[in-house]
Structure formats: structure tokens, C-alpha cells
Symmetry: C2
């Protein structure tokens, strides 16, 4: 198959992990006889430096005409306090590609049990997925502004349609998995959460095979530590999803392991690791490339329906971990620390 | 000393744990020669049942003329879907007493190490305190409403003054402890967080002895699991504080252990456990009374400056745990399960 991919390495460790992902894609091309036409474009801080804008229109246009988009990470202290912020580029591309559902799987890797802060018996069988609303809620709604020196406001607004589409996606995913869906809200305080809960209850009628549970966000934050194995699919508002999915990364032991797929109703999906640009280790060949590589596997599976190829990558990741190759964020007592490039070498070799 | 206390048992396990707290207060009265004039008033679901309102004006008036207020918990399935909700009573009393700073200490109890989902070496030395903004932010600001069937909105608004007073409180607490303050926000996305961060940076100039760090809320949710020992004082917005403090309760092993104090610039403080009304175990004499009892100790210390009395209660809690008396939420392999009343018996006996 021939596919067009726009690649947005971004800032910090973004370019390093993206380089790894592209090497893995080359290996997939060779082994499975595909052709991936890759175009690299700037976003975030790099784009601000080059064009003055965190998301130049050329970048957006290129993304829109591709089959899928890979993104590394954006941001860094260099752009702190500037009027244009790298993160605006990330928020904007999510909005402009209309990728309203952000899928973040969290699965315990058996070989990483020792590095999780949670007790081993609690994480053994964890295999859950967040469906985070990504283009609305507290992140985007207006008014969102400063009034003089004294006041500031952000808005948590949802239209029923925005909730419906992401909740439907979550029900579909739950139906294809264990059939359990947890909807997280703060319906005892927020009006938007009451609407959210109503929509979930209505949608539930169309998915009689899915068991739905509502959980308050404070309780969910607690339950994810207390007993993460109770969850299968978790659907929630943008900001709640941001907080809870980062928290849940500790089940795997490192944010560096987590992949994500952001999907729209039609149009290209956006695939990015959950970790950020990690300026402190950028340029040192020390970043964990697995979150980016696993995001690439999600792209192959969800956008290109290349299930064997995605399986092969995920399997290689397991094997490399089992063989005790580790970057410093997932350090084990058994092996030495590998560089980003060495981790990718090991993946490709498998 | 003579003090007037308004007691709001509320719903669910509220009355049971409050009964325990009052028995402890009686013991303190007898041992230290104080007189506590206690008036019980309805709030939450109980108040809705009796008066139609979750916070009757008689309850509020009684609170305002007391030296301090003790609150159990509110809410339960009985009032679900009703127009008036028990939680409105809780939110309103916080607002009307103007208790803008909610202090939630989280300390690992050595004898509870085995019940925490976190690995023992991570929680050993945890001793942190949340300062949660409690009368503003996403919980209270207008507009907060439903528009027809289709749309809903909540508002995250702050005036600089609202941020200043709670941040000042947090700096004072940090100065009296290890001198480290972590301010949690989402300044890369929210305008209100940018204002928050500015206020923190300005206030820092008046507290040169306090080391300030800013942390994004998603990262904070992760760090509280990864390495909770790094924190001393954490100050944050109302909703962020709700989520993060419930999450952090897992350090102690149970929400049932956590106490809180909500304070204003002047006027009575409001003391309540962090746990909710736990309708599933209500009326069974099974609730953990320690969160409520420790909240009562906070009242003695902060509102009445009775430090010896507060110390005595906190010591008794330690001893009872060391002697392996446990309610089911903090069950250990070593002892049998005690009832709420038995736990209180043990406390009083010490
Ligand atoms: C960088 C930031 C704007 C972003 C977010 O909050 O969505 C990140 O934390 C994430 O989760 O992808
Ligand atoms: C009951 C609820 C409204 C309340 C809150 O969210 O503040 C509770 O969760 C708390 O933390 O005290």
C-alpha cells in the first residue's frame, strides 16, 4: 500500500523520538512492501522560530491532505513568556483536524512491573483505555481571556453534539472490548457534567451490551491508584482526561511508554506520544522512543488497517523490554541504560 | 475555655462519625476542663427533607455565631435527580462562611504502610498539605447553567484578590513548615492559570524564605503517585485541589483517614473529613471515624489554639492504629475489624 504521512517532530525530544519512529516505519515498508510518503513540517516552538506562528498554514494544509499525521512533542523554556506559545500549535492542530476523540491505552508491561510505584499485584492485569474529549471543554470555549490585570476567565462549555460523538466512540470501543464503560464527570457540581451524564445515559440505550458506570472525577483519581484493574474504557472531558491519563501513566511506570491516537469522523488521524518535549533531556539521545513508536503502531492499525504490521511493532516492543533494554525512565536493576537510538536498533532487529 | 460549636452531621455516615467526634470532644472537655457548647443543625439531604432547602438560613445563622463548625458529610442516592441537591448545601456553607482556604494534610501513618497501593518506600516519609482554593474557580463562577436541552456551561473565573488570599495562606504555611511550596496550575492552556502563576510569583517576593515551584496539573497528578515525598505544601485551584487531594488520599491507604480545615480571614472555621457520605455503609456502624476525629483535632488547634488537646487526639489515633484496631477500609492482616464505636472507645480510653 501507498500512504502519505505528515510528520511533525516539534521541539525538545520530539525530533529524536520521531527519528526512531521513522526508522521503524522504514523497516515496516521494507518487510511488508508498503510505500510511506513522508513530509516533514514544523509545529510548536520550531514553527514559531521559523515562521512566527506555532501552526503555519502550510503545516496544516499538508496535514489535511495526508492519510495520517505523526506528532512528536511541542514546547520548552525557550518560548516561555512569549506571546505565541508552542502549545497553541498543538491545541490548534487538534481543533483544525477536528480530532475530537483522543485514545490513550494504558497497559501494564509485565517486564516493567518493578518500576511502577504501585504494588505489583495491583497492576498485573491492567489494560484500560482513555477516550478523552479533545477539541472542546475547558481547553477551547470562549470567553477565555484576561480582563486587565485583575481578572481572568476560562469556560467549560459543551454542546450536546460534541459530547455525543466522543461518547459514541467510547461506546463502540467498549463494545469491541470487555463491554464496560466508565464515564467520569463532576455531575454534583458542574452543569456541563450533568449534560454529559444525560448524553451517556441516552447513548447507553443504543448499546445494550455495554455496562455503563458513572464516576465522579475525584473518586476516579483515587480509584486509578487504588485499583486500576477495575477499569476498561474511560470516557471523559478534555481537562479531566488530561489529568487522569497522566496519572494513570504511572501504572506502566513511565509516561515515556504511552501512545495516543486522536481521531475524527473523517480525515486524517493524529498520532502522538502522551509525554511532552522533556527539555531537560533533549538532544542527549536519552529519550524513551517507545511512546512514539507505539503511537506509530496505532497509526498503522487505526488509519491504515495494517494490523499485522502494528502487531509486529507491539511485539517487538515487548521483546525489547523483556530483553532488558531500557532508557533511563524505565531503568531496571538488570540491564544497562540504552540510548534512544539503541532502543530503536533493537526494535528494528526483531 | 468555653467555646460554641455548631455541629452539622449531614447524611450517610455523617451522623455516625460525628457521634464519635462528639464523644472525643466530651473526653477532651473532661480531661482539660473546657466547656464546648454544641448545637446540632441540619444540612444537605437531611435539611432538604426537613425544610426543603440544603442549607436552611437557621443553620447558616447558627454557624456564623459559633466559634467553629464541624461537618460530617452530605449526599446520597435518595436525593439524586432532585432539583435541590445536598451538595448545594455544602458548597453554599463554604461560600457563605467565606472559608476560601481548604487545608488537607496527607501524612503516611507508619502502621498503615501495608494498605497503601503505593510501594512502602515511596510513602514512608510523606507529610504534605494541600491548600485548596474553596470558594471560587470552576465551582462557583457564573455563568453556570444549562441552555435548553443542547448546551451547558461552567465558568472558571478568578479575581486576583481571590487568588492572593489563598496563595498568601499557602506561603504562610510553607514558611512555618519546610519552606517549600508547589503551585499547581495549567498555565500552558488556561488564562486563569496564567493569572494564578503571576500572583504566586509576585507573592513570592514577600516570602524570600520559601522556595516556590510551579507544576502543571497533569504532571502533579503523576508526581503524586511517582514520588509523593517530594511535596510539602501544594496550593491550587478548587477543582484541581478536589481531584489531587482525593488521589493523594491513597498515600495513607484510605480516604477515611483524611481530615480538613477550611478557614477564612475572620469568622468560624469549617472542619470536615475529606471522605463523603458513603451511603453503601451508612447506618452499619462500619465507617472509619478517624477522618472526622482528626478534623476535630484540627479545629482544636486552628480555631481554639488548644495544641495539647489536638496533640493528644492525634497521638491517640496513632496508638489505636499501632494496636491494630481497624475499620474495614484500613483492614490489616493482623487484627479483626472494629466498628465505628469500638474505634472511638479505643481513642477515648487512651
Ligand atoms: C501540552 C499540553 C497542551 C497537552 C494537553 O494538555 O493536552 C498535553 O499535556 C497532553 O496531554 O497532550
Ligand atoms: C461533595 C463535593 C461537592 C465535594 C467537593 O467537590 O468539593 C467533595 O468532593 C469534597 O472534596 O469536599
Amino acid at each position: 500500500m501507498e500512504k502519505t504521512i505528515t510528520v511533525l517532530p516539534g521541539d525538545g525530544i520530539g525530533p529524536e523520538v520521531m527519528k526512531g519512529a521513522l526508522r521503524v516505519l522504514k523497516a515496516v515498508e521494507a518487510r511488508y512492501g508498503h510505500q510511506f510518503n513522508v513530509t516533514e513540517m514544523p509545529i510548536g516552538g520550531k514553527a514559531i522560530d521559523e515562521t512566527g506562528l506555532p501552526l503555519p498554514s502550510e503545516t496544516l494544509e499538508q496535514c489535511k491532505k495526508s492519510d495520517a499525521v505523526l506528532l512528536g512533542a511541542v514546547g520548552g523554556p525557550k518560548w516561555d513568556g512569549m506571546e505565541k506559545r508552542p502549545e497553541q500549535g498543538l491545541l490548534q492542530i487538534r481543533k483544525d483536524l477536528n480530532v475530537f476523540a483522543n485514545l490513550r491505552p494504558v497497559k501494564a508491561f509485565a517486564s516493567l512491573g518493578d518500576i511502577s510505584p504501585l504494588k505489583p499485584e495491583l497492576i498485573e492485569n491492567v489494560d484500560l483505555i482513555f477516550v478523552r474529549e479533545l477539541t472542546g471543554g475547558l481547553y477551547f470555549a470562549q470567553p477565555k481571556r484576561r480582563t486587565g490585570n485583575e481578572e481572568a476567565v476560562d469556560t467549560l462549555y459543551y454542546h450536546r453534539n460534541e459530547i455525543e460523538r466522543v461518547v459514541k466512540k467510547a461506546f463502540e470501543i467498549a463494545a469491541s472490548r470487555s463491554g464496560k464503560l466508565t464515564s467520569v464527570d463532576k455531575a454534583n457540581v458542574l452543569e456541563s457534567s450533568k449534560l454529559w451524564r444525560e448524553v451517556v445515559n441516552e447513548m447507553a440505550k443504543s448499546f445494550p451490551e455495554v455496562k455503563v458506570e458513572h464516576m465522579l472525577v475525584d473518586n476516579a483519581a483515587m480509584q486509578l491508584v487504588r485499583n486500576p484493574g477495575q477499569f476498561d474504557v474511560i470516557v471523559t472531558e478534555n481537562m479531566f482526561g488530561d489529568i487522569l491519563s497522566d496519572e494513570a501513566s504511572m501504572i506502566t511506570g513511565s509516561l515515556g511508554m504511552l501512545a495516543s491516537a486522536s481521531v475524527s469522523e473523517e480525515g486524517p488521524g493524529l498520532y502522538e506520544p502522551v509525554h511532552g518535549s522533556a527539555p531537560d533531556i533533549a538532544g542527549k539521545n536519552a529519550a524513551n522512543p517507545l511512546g512514539m513508536v507505539l503511537s506509530t503502531a496505532m497509526m498503522l492499525r487505526h488509519s491504515f488497517h495494517m494490523n499485522d504490521e502494528a502487531d509486529a511493532i507491539e511485539m517487538a516492543v515487548q521483546e525489547v523490554l523483556n530483553a532488558n533494554y531500557r532508557t533511563s525512565d524505565i531503568e531496571s536493576k538488570k540491564g544497562r541504560i540504552s540510548t534512544t537510538d539503541e532502543m530503536v536498533d533493537q526494535l528494528i532487529y526483531r
